[in-house]
Subunit: 245 residues, 2 copies
């Protein structure tokens, strides 16, 4: 198995020699479903590249609730930002969502390469910058948007990703619920509600969007037609009442 790590944005600026160096300190591992990679608080000497399956990053509250911070897809790296800290500690736990494969890299070794390549530094800063932006957006969603809004936004994103009105959910419902910071029951009820409003049809893991416009307005994204009206969306008005009872 010979993977070119340059497919990952983070490594894309490396020359052959540098790739060779990085690979020397690397280690590939195969994980079973829900096998743990590291836990919150562990010393962080290595960072990772997902090459198969999905890795979920999460935190657990004192009463056992699990909040999924991110689900890392193949081709993406994670935990690389920690290598610039004095006493790097993983701020989240990581485990496989289904069977998965990851390559891990030694921080120290990579820092050495970094210290010789401004270009790679710039890549990393770009990556971190994007991640920063994503987290700010996430905080926004969590505090300013309702559960329905978040779920609709996720469905819409998935729909556009696939390019079809008919698609399959990108993970188990319970997992998606945790990713959106809501309980599985709430997730289920919102879907049920959207169905009853003829906004979509659901059949186990498959979703078919029937009324894209309404879905879009519920997701607080402007419709494809024209720009935002004065009151950007009807959720708070009476035209669309989405009460859960």
């Amino acid at each position: 198995m010979n993977i070119d790590i340059r497919m990952a944005h983070l490594f894309s600026a490396l020359n052959d020699d540098q790739v060779r160096q990085v690979m020397e300190s690397s280690h590939t591992s195969t994980l079973k479903d829900s096998e743990s990679l590291f836990e919150t608080g562990d010393e962080a000497n290595r960072f990772f590249l997902v090459i198969g399956g999905q890795i979920k990053l999460f935190r657990v509250s004192s009463n056992g609730d699990q909040k999924i911070i991110d689900i890392i897809q193949p081709g993406n790296t994670f935990a690389e930002a920690l290598m610039f800290m004095e006493h790097p500690i993983y701020p989240v736990s990581a485990e496989a969502l289904g069977p998965a494969r990851v390559i891990s890299f030694d921080n120290r070794r990579f820092l050495q390469i970094l210290s010789e390549s401004i270009e790679v530094c710039f890549r990393i800063m770009g990556t971190m910058s994007q991640r920063l932006r994503g987290l700010v957006k996430e905080i926004d969603d969590l505090t300013l948007q309702s559960a329905t809004t978040r779920l609709c936004a996720l469905l819409l994103r998935r729909m556009e990703e696939v390019g079809q009105m008919h698609f399959t959910l990108p993970a188990a419902k319970g997992v998606l619920a945790a990713r959106l910071s809501m309980k599985p029951e709430t997730f289920s009820r919102i879907l049920q509600n959207l169905s009853s409003k003829k906004i979509l049809k659901t059949k186990s893991n498959e979703i078919e969007v029937l009324d894209e416009d309404t879905l879009r307005s519920l997701a607080h994204l402007e419709s494809i037609y024209g720009l935002e009206p004065e009151k950007p969306c009807a959720l708070n008005g009476q035209s669309i009442s989405l009460d859960l009872n």
Copy 2:
């Protein structure tokens, strides 16, 4: 007025010549209370260093609610992470919290210096890494912790910062409420409740902590005495009932 920008972590690795170069593209401005610096969506060509007062970074929801993402203190920079993006756009709005002074710097110019100094790159990556960590913690707080927990944590942090059981709130109550993602009414009620439980005493803007241990357990931080017990905190049990009614 001659400020050495090297007090800011971000610039600390610059030599005299580099500082001179950066300063050439800089611009100092004085802001009145609640004067705007930039808004969400503006093109981001410059980043900032606060040298006096406070700058609040916030986002506004479609129904007008304001969420304060951060309050930047003197000596700190902000919006520097954007310079690594292709089409940099501020993801938040910024305005002065009371009268303030900031220096702004040109992204392009700074990137040029960066491209000549690995050391400065490393500083930046360190800064970004910390910020990333902070945001993850914030998401954790918002989704896994109650309003009471968040407020107690803030009080405790402030107490430790000042080193006194008796201290003054770091901003107006309404501002702190927004920072903690709660309404002023809720903020007020929680303080009132903590008072009635003899955990603290409040007099307008001043707080005196009476029962540090309980405060600490409410904030979900382990007490100074010993390590965490099996059930780390009593909030969910009956020993401390903190109902708001």
